[in-house]
Amino acid sequence: MSKFAKKKSGELPAVSTASLPDIVFMLLFFFMTVTVMKNSDVKVENTLPNASEIKKLEKKDRVITIYVGAPTKEFQKVFGTESKIQLNDKFADAGDVGDYILMERAKKPQELQNVLTTSLKVDKNANMGLIADIKQELRKVNALKVNYTTYEGDAFNNLK
């Protein structure tokens, strides 16, 4: 009887820290996986517009991405505040889009080369002139499947 009574008395035991390394590792792994996902850093403002009637993009290996938007703060001194096209890691003109698409297409396996989609990630404040130029370039290289990538949401928010 006395044995049991002894256990009951006394303060609260300290929280075990044996699991701390596990938790730390877990967080480490988590951040590692998340940062690997982005393979090119976006150098332009990229707040996508909202749309409600959206369709999911196909598999990632069939997508070529083009970013458009005003350069971010650190690049504004060099490139100004007008909307720019970003291909891979570089700023480019509309005239370079065709070559870029052909280059990216050549990198893909043969069987995917004619099912590729071009995903246009365009900032919602960009001008339509630039988009029209890009579309003309895409038509020149026969990259006709286009996806205007958006966030899911109410489309009327774009007008505010």
Partner: protein, 190 residues
């Protein structure tokens, strides 16, 4: 402990890769040497113009963006051709206004923008156009196949759908698309 850690790790791994991109799909027209001559009647074309201030004009008439969906679906689904004319639309439920489109196959929506129009406004308009088409396609699909068009498309993209089902779905989707083809034209910018 380690088991739990691994479990959580796997959970994060899986959830972070699930995140996929979505957006509005559109097919660009093929590049042609000479611009094709469009011999369409004026009544079959709905002219949507989006100017640089974000103002919207439909057939030379100022329209609020919120009313665009109704306008467009009304135009497509109009079915202006009479029963004895060629191209009579048997499935249309519009007002059969003789000054609007004959049937959905002939109806064309022409979207024109200005170079300085903002992309956000453009996407809003595109979204409304797709919404108008989806609304009509859903209605038709629900009547014929007892399943909405958007649900069929979603089911088609699901990886767990068997190939036999996919084939069937594809046939149905094609059928609906043929009834309400997405005729969106983008002429040269202003």
């Amino acid at each position: 402990m380690a088991d739990i850690a691994f479990l959580l790790l796997l959970f994060f791994l899986v959830t972070t890769t699930i995140e996929t991109d979505a957006g509005l799909d559109r097919a660009l027209p093929r590049k042609q040497k000479e611009p094709p001559i469009i011999d369409y009647q004026k009544k079959n074309i709905l002219r949507v113009v989006l100017d640089k201030e974000g103002g919207l004009m439909v057939n030379e008439e100022l329209v609020d963006v919120k009313d665009l969906r109704e306008k467009v679906s009304g135009f497509i689904d109009n079915g202006g051709a009479t029963a004895d004319e060629e191209g009579y639309c048997t499935y249309c439920k519009g007002n059969a206004d003789p000054s609007a489109s004959d049937n959905p196959k002939k109806a064309i929506v022409a979207v024109n923008t200005h170079r300085e129009t903002s992309y956000g406004a453009y996407i809003t308009v595109q979204n409304e156009l797709v919404a108008a088409y989806n609304q009509l396609r859903n209605r038709e699909a629900l009547g014929v196949f007892k399943m909405t068009y958007t649900a069929m498309e979603e089911a088609y993209q699901q990886p767990e759908t068997s190939s036999a089902e996919k084939k069937e779905l594809k046939r149905k989707i094609k059928h609906i698309q043929q009834l309400y083809p997405l005729n969106i034209l983008e002429p040269e910018q202003l």
